[in-house]
Symmetry: C2
Subunit: 367 residues, 2 copies
């Protein structure tokens, strides 16, 4: 094996050279993987692959989007730009709920239901602690195992990143790539705590809140802001002994939703119950979402909201980057702490300290 | 009158030269005003005046703070810096409520009550539409007329400014000047709509919400965020036929407040009723506020909050100014609209457009 001997890390695909291949290994698949591995695809290669519906090309392009290297960023921009005219033809659905509510099982069952309807489903996530980034996909595979193997589904864990803003940007750019790849239903998972819902709410057409029956008053208090964003509340685990409580919760949530001001979409949020485990109530969830899209496509809100989201991300990206540039400036990092202390000791007003740092920054970036 | 003839706009104070002065005009007051008018006071003059408790010097310094001229800004900074060590020794109370709730009457009565306790009361405002900026002080004088003439009170209308951030900054710097001038109780009025409460909440120690009995469910929905910030809710106009309804409202608000999460201050918000017009319930309001200060001074929250507010204003000022510098840049103003349209037409992703504008900005500011 002269070829393999030259390499320090021989590939498992070449190590079998000269050994009879077991029938289970497809020679054409091996050839395809080998050929793909040989070269780094150009932006054009990736675009062509994505537009042809190739999930490997899609994955590689998303990896570029997630990269922090400047060269990758430029290439990613080229790919996204070429994909943009082919994007936008999907429905984007945000799914949130606190840990333990059964998000993974729901997405598994709901995603499979959608592919059975002939849809192509991409599942993305915005959250470093998201269930699809924590083991279920890459690790123990006890959840979403059916959807992972479904050829009409594409599942991608949450991008890792220092800031929510960064993760959100990467996910939103990935949506464009998934759409260009022919995925017509995008599910964005996020955990029902903190700020990530707001970010997801700004990138989806429909926002679904998964809840459980019998969550206490305090929990409901925390989730009030999220409830206000929801287009539908689905009470999961409505099975067995839980059915009666789930129906009661449905009535309660319906009452609570009436206290919120009318939505700009003209849509009244709906509450349904389901059991992802028992595969019950899933069709009703989809019916609710379909009704929403019929209404908002007819009244123009669908396009209006997407355009507003685009403008939001334009300005939000600028504002975030302006801050990043400032606070990551080495000179500023050094002096900010000093000024914080001076402010605390009433040696300087917060406004004078701010002006001082801004002047310094402006002079420094001029050099 | 050779002197007056030289001037195109003779002063009313000099026009009476040679005419017998009516007894009601104090010769020493005229001399004082004339001497003050003759020269523009230096920063030192203003600081000395402020520290001596001179309200005219305080007024002039606040005018400097409110000015948009760069020279005034520098002078204002010098004054503030010299006043800072003498500031901070007050209680700062935010008062909000929708128009019609009786804020002006309440502040008039409450302020007078406080001066009768021997306190020195400054009333500032954060809102272009604030009642104290709209005629009541400068114009019709039908409201707060007693407090205006009270020598232990100082009333200043809201600064005018393009942005809430600008108005808020000016008010917060004015607080420092008022405190250095010996005012130990600062009342900050704001209108109970929009974002101004959040700004005021970030500069006061105690936040008081004035409400009316019988406000509808919808109105309560809008004010939920403000209710959450309130340390006390005072139901005003609890007089005549309204007393019973006010008591009912008190019970309702008390119930509603229990739904909010516990405050970091360890304080449970209180609900009281009052009639500013009949001067009833005012002492109870002050008792509530005093109880709050006893608690938060003892548990350290008072100082902790003030320090957090200082840090907040430091970062907030930087973040706002970074945006102002960017969006007011002539080149950016021109190109932002073009890029917004390109994003809307899916010619460019919002992120690529943002990067494009940021690169351009960075290159432009380097020149």
């Amino acid at each position: 094996m002269p070829v393999a001997q030259k390499k320090t890390h021989p590939s498992a695909l070449t190590e079998n050279d000269g050994i009879e291949q077991p029938e289970i290994i497809s020679a054409s698949s091996v050839a395809q993987i080998q050929s793909f591995r040989k070269k780094i695809p150009t932006a054009d290669d990736l675009v062509n692959g994505i537009l042809a519906g190739d999930k490997t090309a899609l994955s590689r392009a998303i990896t570029l989007v997630e990269s922090t290297s400047a060269a990758h960023l430029e290439k990613a921009n080229d790919v996204i730009k070429a994909c943009l005219p082919h994007a936008n033809k999907s429905v984007r659905i945000g799914i949130t709920g606190v840990p333990g509510v059964g998000k993974s099982t729901f997405i598994e069952v709901f995603g499979t239901f959608l592919t059975n309807l002939g849809k192509k489903v991409a599942v993305l996530a915005v959250d470093p602690s998201s269930s699809i980034s924590h083991g279920s996909i890459l690790g123990d595979k006890t959840r979403m195992e059916e959807l992972v193997r479904n050829e009409n589904a594409f599942i991608r864990p949450s991008a890792s990143g220092e800031s929510l803003g960064g993760v959100a940007r990467k996910t939103r750019e990935s949506i464009i790539l998934c759409e260009a790849c022919g995925f017509d239903t995008i599910l964005i998972e996020t955990v029902g705590v903190g700020q990530s819902e707001t970010a997801v709410h700004s990138m989806v057409d429909f926002f679904l809140l998964l809840n459980l029956a019998g969550a206490g008053d305090e929990l409901q208090g925390i989730k009030r802001g999220i409830m206000e964003m929801a287009d539908a509340i689905v009470i999961n685990k409505a099975d067995g002994d839980n059915i009666k409580r789930a129906r009661l919760a449905k009535t309660e949530y319906n009452r609570a939703l009436h206290l919120f001001p009318m939505k700009n979409s003209g849509w009244s949020p709906k509450v349904t119950t389901c059991s992802a485990l028992a595969n019950e109530g899933i069709e009703e969830v989809w019916q609710t979402i379909s009704d929403y899209f019929s209404l908002t496509r007819a009244n123009g809100y669908f396009d209006k909201k997407r355009n507003e989201q685009n403008q939001y991300w334009l300005l939000e990206t600028i504002n975030e980057q302006l801050k990043t540039n400032f606070y990551n400036h080495p000179e500023i990092q050094k002096l900010l702490e000093e000024n914080k202390k001076a402010v605390q000791n009433s040696e300087i007003s917060p406004f004078a300290a701010a002006r001082h740092l801004l002047d310094l920054y402006q002079n420094n970036t001029k050099d």
